[in-house]
Symmetry: D2
Subunit: 343 residues, 4 copies
């Protein structure tokens, strides 16, 4: 059955799987003292173009975000996040448990924070009663597949520096944004200047594994202790490191992201040809959202899986993963046209 | 180089790796709604011999223990644990973060809790000031490789029921204890009657992955919500489930555990022949602890890896994993005798 | 200097002070085992008209709210609160620390929650990723001095029961609402049917002290343990209990609340006569909010204290406490008219 | 009835009560912006002989200790405390809730920590798995009324500095220790060099109220935010401040402490005369512990209240408060001799 539900429904990319098999070569030190981890950390320094960073590996996205945010926050702080962020909508109360902080939702347009609302919620009063905003976390690309362009990132980063707000980027799908902008990791962090970045692996073809990168300069202390406290220190960490090496070392990330971004663009064009629906948000990376009622959704779901994103707004989501093909999309539109003509 | 450091230094067992490769067959539902997970849950019911259980999959041992304990405790409780337990010595402050509870260390002999000290710390006063003990967690086998026999488990379980104390078992290496006692999972839980069990996979040949099994009867609510809150809900959970299916379905666990237990017994016999050292604890599963000073340790470490367990007590640990062989041990003793004759 | 800043700027009502002096008569059991506390609990049962309640005493409002909410919530829950509530704006991150829950802000009109937004945020999906709303907390009267009438309370309570949402009332100024509605505590809880109520003392003339009342029926367990854990168990609790006895036993609460409500009404009328300003919210209890620019505020503050409530909206607040008099208000308007004619 | 249960059973000292009445003179700024608080802070600087301190007021001892410790710890730390400390035995799980840290109990002799056990538990390994000890909290005088003399304090403080351990003193009864050592607050902190001190008021005659003093030099940030987060910021703080001013300003603390210390010494002498019992610990401040079986305890309790401290060890405690007199003790021994001759 065709499946456009989520990159999480897809398996492990074959090159990643091969890297896993190759790294399964006898004994290796545990808890990240192994040579794969050491190599991966060096590779991070190379691809990010700076030695001033500290990378850590994590099991999943929720673990990565909460490890990152608990490492740069204090317990009386508030964290500003978009109202549609994974952190706010899909990580249970792990943020409260781990950081002890308040989450303030910031209004969004097309998934991107409204600067005015962000600035409104940056509490400038020196008032002990109200949790002061100390961190902004943005998602790049957003949960709607839209991207902050480099100019927007620069503006947001400037506002953060001016207001003494730390910047975290949830980059669960960052590679898709970079491919879309034709931008390297190094250029991205040069312009965006995040203090911490959650870098997704699972949605880019890994079996499991994410990374958190701190751009530190010594401000954040005891990161390794907090990594363990956050339950993200893998005993056989070589298996996360080996996957990231494969993903990063000669552009596999870009190959996958370009492929899935292209699928979304292709889908958008095919959709336009049908004249049956409009996309709900600009298609900028590997996801397409459209309005669809319950009836066509029910008819289509016998042959294709995709996600009812928002029942009230009648939005459905098509997310493209590395295993998807142009052929899948063509097959989908055959079904789609049948269902739509029935309408 | 020979390596007896820890099962965590070993890789992925080849049968497990093959199961991973086989499960990488296209799309599968995420977050444990896939068929591998459904099959694994059924298999758990079968091997545990009861339908009255709820299994959940986790990333690592710290995640498993803290998910388990946070699910059965209340925030004003104390949790009794052995002073040498992983929970008390190797999980940072994740227990405090997740459960909010006090940990009371219980004295041990050979890694096993002293019943008298356990009973002393079961606070029977109805006193709101002192956190009341509500849970006992024991490790089977213990961190020293020793095991509670079935009679001891029955006694501990009875004390728990009489004192209204919930029982959790940290079974990171449970398969080694079961193989040593020639006992099935079903018989183990029939006698031990735990309320929750952390069942280790990583130390038994998995690439990653642990399980938590609740023996519930409806007392523990919202386990699935707490699983997510504990950051243990894997997006591509099929890859944990497929490994557990392979481990459990036709006795791979027993094959591995018997092999590693036998290695420890062989090591103990070879050691006895040298007349150079005595084991620090009874050798009952897959680990051997001996006294060793700094000098021989330093000499040996050029050719073999093992763990300085306790510097003050001059104890070193040899832990045997599935990749170790009788040949490894023979090679070790060649080096060992050389070093010891130098003394 | 005239002071309309807050009831917290006022001292201790003379009858309350006298009760404190009288209760200082030698030894009394500590931690609420004393006769004053026992008498106060009986009195609570009497004035609330039910035996099905458990009252606890607390030090301050933040302590009361967080003890109440942490006692009726689970760690994966969300708590719905008005965006202007004390809980959301003036208790730092104590809610996250104590409850571990997410706070979802609900939109308000005149400080009262918009039912539609409340219902929108009652998450009905059985989705482990999103913290499910489990509790609604409303403030009666609101932070703007407005009140939910009995019909509105009944509707909100019905929505809560239908959606399986527990209801907490922050009644830091509840007596003012009751006096305004000419309603007894017993009638209030009969209609509102809260699961827990924070009942304010400090703002009604106490030196210090609040109460939390649980309407329980056995659902909430270990309240006394959580009371201690919440750091609200006073060693010399008789001094809180004796104050509440005085406040409740023969209508002192009503006398004070009627007086301060009347002052607000008088202020509103005098303001209307000046033709210089309008109230920002309906004046329903003991507070008046008006628009006022920086210049008149600065001119007035040499002779009278009141609170700049919201700088962006240019709202100022006049809160009336038991020590304020009609004469104070007359004096204020003399100054006010002078300043306003200068404009 | 005679009462030697606890200073918490006693009321408010008449001079303190008078100070409360005098401070009830109209309006005063809330949340510690009032003139009493400002005066009290100045007075703290004077009596401690340094300007390098930041005092905060709290409601009770549990609040004070947890505010103090949560302000100087990080979430991955362990806090070393004596196994008999109030923190470990009488504050529920507030320490875990607030600090997120592990408590490591340190063995004691006569209530005072064993230096060897303290040093053993100072974890010097750079190991992320085990929570590293970061703070030592000692109680002066101890829960058994014994005191660390100035030489012992100096040694403990030196060990802390050498091991990079912060030092907190729980001084719930510090005035008794100071009176016994004839030592000023200034001299005490000069020798002991604590980083934070909980200074008890309630047990020294206050109606309610404790203080926390940080000896800071800028290391501890955002103390005022954490004070609010810890729910210890009193709205009508003048009433705590006014009590501390009275206690500190012209030696009332010393007068009370000397009186209650003398009562304990008198009790010890009278006890010795009876030849019927021995004290369980050296009598160094205002408490006397003796062995007493259930039968005499039950016979005595019809005429006198005192505390069964430890049922297993059959220890009872006599704590002397400001209201107790030599006459009370004489009356007690009349009863005591009757009961003992019955034996």
């Amino acid at each position: 059955m065709m499946n456009f539900s989520s990159e999480n429904h897809d398996g492990t990319h074959l090159r990643i799987l091969k890297a896993l098999i190759n790294s399964n070569n006898g004994f290796a030190a545990s808890y990240g003292k192994d040579e794969y981890t050491i190599e991966a950390i060096e590779l991070f320094r190379e691809v990010f173009g700076t030695k001033e960073l500290e990378p850590f590996f994590c099991f999943n996205g929720t673990g990565a975000n909460n490890f990152a945010l608990s490492s740069i926050s204090e317990k009386h702080n508030a964290i500003l996040c978009s109202e549609s962020s994974h952190l706010y909508t899909a990580e249970s109360t792990a943020p409260e448990t781990f950081t002890g902080c308040r989450l303030y939702p910031v209004k969004t347009v097309n998934g991107k924070i409204l600067i005015e609302d962000f600035l409104l919620k940056v509490n400038t009063k020196n008032d002990v009663h109200l949790p002061p905003a100390a961190i902004l976390t943005i998602t790049q690309p957003t949960e709607y597949g839209t991207i902050y362009d480099l100019n927007e990132l620069n503006i947001i980063s400037n506002h953060c520096k001016e207001n003494n707000i730390l910047l975290h980027v949830d980059g669960a799908r960052l590679f898709n944004a970079l491919a879309a902008m034709n931008c390297s990791l190094a250029d991205f962090v040069k312009i965006c200047r995040p203090d911490a970045l959650s870098l997704g692996g699972t949605k880019s073809g890994l079996m499991f594994g994410e990374a958190v990168v701190f751009f530190n300069n010594g401000r954040f202390r005891n990161l390794n202790y907090n990594h363990k406290r956050s339950m993200q220190l893998a005993s056989k960490n070589r298996f996360i490191a080996a996957q990231f090496i494969e993903l990063l070392k000669d552009g596999l990330w870009k190959e996958i992201a370009t492929h899935t971004n292209n699928l979304a663009k292709y889908f958008e064009r095919e959709l336009a040809k049908t004249g049956k629906a409009e996309t709900a948000y600009p298609v900028e990376t590997n996801m397409v959202f459209i309005k669809m009622g319950q009836t066509p959704f029910d008819q289509l779901k016998t042959s294709v899986r995709f996600y009812r994103w928002d029942i009230q707004r009648e939005e459905v989501r098509f997310a493209f993963s590395f295993s998807n093909t142009i052929g899948d999309i063509n097959s989908f539109f055959k079904e789609y046209k049948k269902v739509m003509n029935h309408d």
